[in-house]
Symmetry: C2
Subunit: 359 residues, 2 copies
């Protein structure tokens, strides 16, 4: 396979270009390291110089690093800060710009001690958008993850009935996704029924589903390292007028936000549109989180679609749209799709129907 088919060298170059005058970058986020090198291990550090690239790993990952990160030199450390020190000294680095949203204060203080004479500078925003615009390969992975997830959900939907426990559905759904090609579940699947549906981040428990419950299923798959993220809310056997009204309003907020998405619009504007729709119905106070987030190697990544966010959507970004209404102690509804931003609008990547459904 010709070397040029690898996406990694161009990604590293883009990072070098964006930060031209720097001496060395210290990348510590696991997913950023994977994005830049292909190394999929869960611990390491990547140092990027003007004409060198060194992946630092401990003994557990040396073989894997050599296999996966073909474009980088692999350096083995026992203690990470000591490895960073060795590479910095060898390359005669004058300044290190580090990922301040990942480096802990503990490691920072030890690094300061080891690297006396070297300037340590926090990178804050510079890496936020590194992975935000996806290439064709990445979009294909997310779409594949979404396809696997939706098909698995369709298969387990018959289980959502009175007498079945939340956890049973979650376990079955994750199993089906992995049997049909998902590497993993994208996150701990949420199956929240009745009052649990009023908790935006409920973990599935042993509550037994009953008639009249709203059941919120927030789920996704991983394919090629990339995540999908989708939420469906169903009613069991019946839905009362208030439930229908809230569902319709959340769906309207979801639809209006999706219709507004296109390259050039700000993230905060999409959030405002969804929020206004719920505000108009007196439901704004029950919408306690942002409207969406980027999805990729992480299930939550940039950009954030939340109040006041000025970042502009670009073609190739993949984001969720997930308004919800949570009535504490009673029930809740959330409707979520993952969409690809295009120049003229967006393409929905997640495939489960979002019409009000009574199971």
């Amino acid at each position: 396979m010709p070397e040029t088919l690898s996406p990694y060298p161009a990604r590293v170059e883009r990072l070098r270009n964006a930060l031209p005058e720097k001496d060395a970058l210290l990348i510590l986020g696991e997913k950023n390291i994977r994005y830049l090198t292909g190394f999929a291990g869960s611990d390491g550090a990547l140092m990027v110089g003007p004409d060198w690239l060194t992946l630092l790993v401990d003994g557990r990952y040396v073989t894997q690093a050599r296999q996966e990160a073909v474009g980088a030199e692999v350096f083995e450390f026992r203690i990470r800060v000591e490895g960073i020190e060795s590479v910095a000294r060898r390359q005669k680095v004058g300044a290190v710009d580090f990922e301040s949203q990942v480096l802990t204060v503990d490691e920072y203080l030890r690094l300061q001690e080891k690297l006396s004479g070297v300037t340590l500078r926090p990178l804050s925003g510079e890496l936020q958008s590194l992975r935000a615009v996806k290439d064709e390969g990445e979009i294909g992975c997310i779409a594949e993850a979404a396809r696997i997830a939706s098909e698995a959900l369709a298969d387990v939907l018959a289980m959502v009935r009175p007498g079945v426990r939340e956890k049973e559905i979650a376990v079955e759904l994750e199993y089906r996704m992995q049997q049909t090609g998902a590497e993993l579940a994208a996150f701990e699947t949420i199956v929240a029924s009745g009052p649990n549906a009023a908790l935006p981040h409920a973990t599935p428990g042993f509550r037994t589903i009953g008639p009249g419950d709203c059941v919120v299923i927030d789920y996704g798959a991983v394919s090629g390292g990339y995540h999908s993220d989708e939420t469906c809310s169903y009613f069991v056997e019946r839905a009362d007028p208030r439930q229908r009204e809230v569902y319709d309003r959340v769906k309207e907020a979801h639809d209006r936000a999706i219709r507004a998405i296109r390259a050039g619009v700000s993230c905060g504007e999409i959030d405002r549109i969804a929020r206004t729709c719920l505000d108009e119905a007196g439901l704004g106070e029950y919408f306690s989180h942002g409207t969406g987030h980027g999805v990729g190697l992480d299930v939550h990544e940039g950009p954030r679609l939340a109040r006041g966010r000025e970042e502009i959507l670009q073609a190739g970004m993949v984001v969720t749209v997930e308004p919800g209404v949570y009535l504490p102690g009673l029930w809740g509804v959330r409707i979520e799709d993952t969409v690809l931003v295009t120049d003229g609008g967006c393409r929905i990547l997640t495939g489960s129907p979002k019409e009000l459904t009574i199971l």
Copy 2:
């Protein structure tokens, strides 16, 4: 249920006692927060004062926090550092000791700015041992997780045969564990065969198992929030003399380490015993990680059983013993049990047989 049955107030008191002269502690580690309050959400902050206890969460977690953290005041924030600032100002805190192994440099710099006039001091070692000694309830959870895991493994062992892919076994094992009561798999189950078994942290892939393979299965369950951790290595259809020799030696290292475990022995000594056993057979260079680690609310927590660690084992600690030999490009063997340290020795909590087994 009488209030006194809750383990949380005593845990908070122990933390207050260990750090008597401090103004406020800022706890950020998710599992430490759960240990001290019962709150099982994945984002928040806990502030501990001499006579006050405040759990800070964002809007997604307010309802859950009120339900679970009964002994703490719940404070809702939109941006975590702003929440911390509000509570610190209200309590007129003069100094904040923060978890430096969790706080990122980014949040630290913002906190410094917000809390001018307040001293920020990194806690480094003080919290390391907070959760190391387990109480009866915790030990019961770990033992239950181990029981669920072993029974599930026994059920899927018939799948380990030529023609089956690693991932199929991992998916089936995680499914069985959750069907029989595990909240989750303790970590991404490792099923590594042939040359993949030479990667200590391999993720299960689409490699098809063949005759003569060694298959390393590293797996665990979660029960009541607590993890089990166990590794079995099997041979498929046959084992050659070198494989038998290495297996026996790894088993000997495992057994010697377990025989040496008791309250009063240092962690480094246990590592030395396992390592020496492999060194004697010329295999020391292929043992590329520590001998073990604590297990509890995290699958990896203190203490670490590794070279030179001076920490002393205490009754009630729960640790793994997991020597391994990895022959790059060829195969590997790891044998791991989770044990409870007692005054006179230890009790093995993980239940799968560790004798050389040809499937």
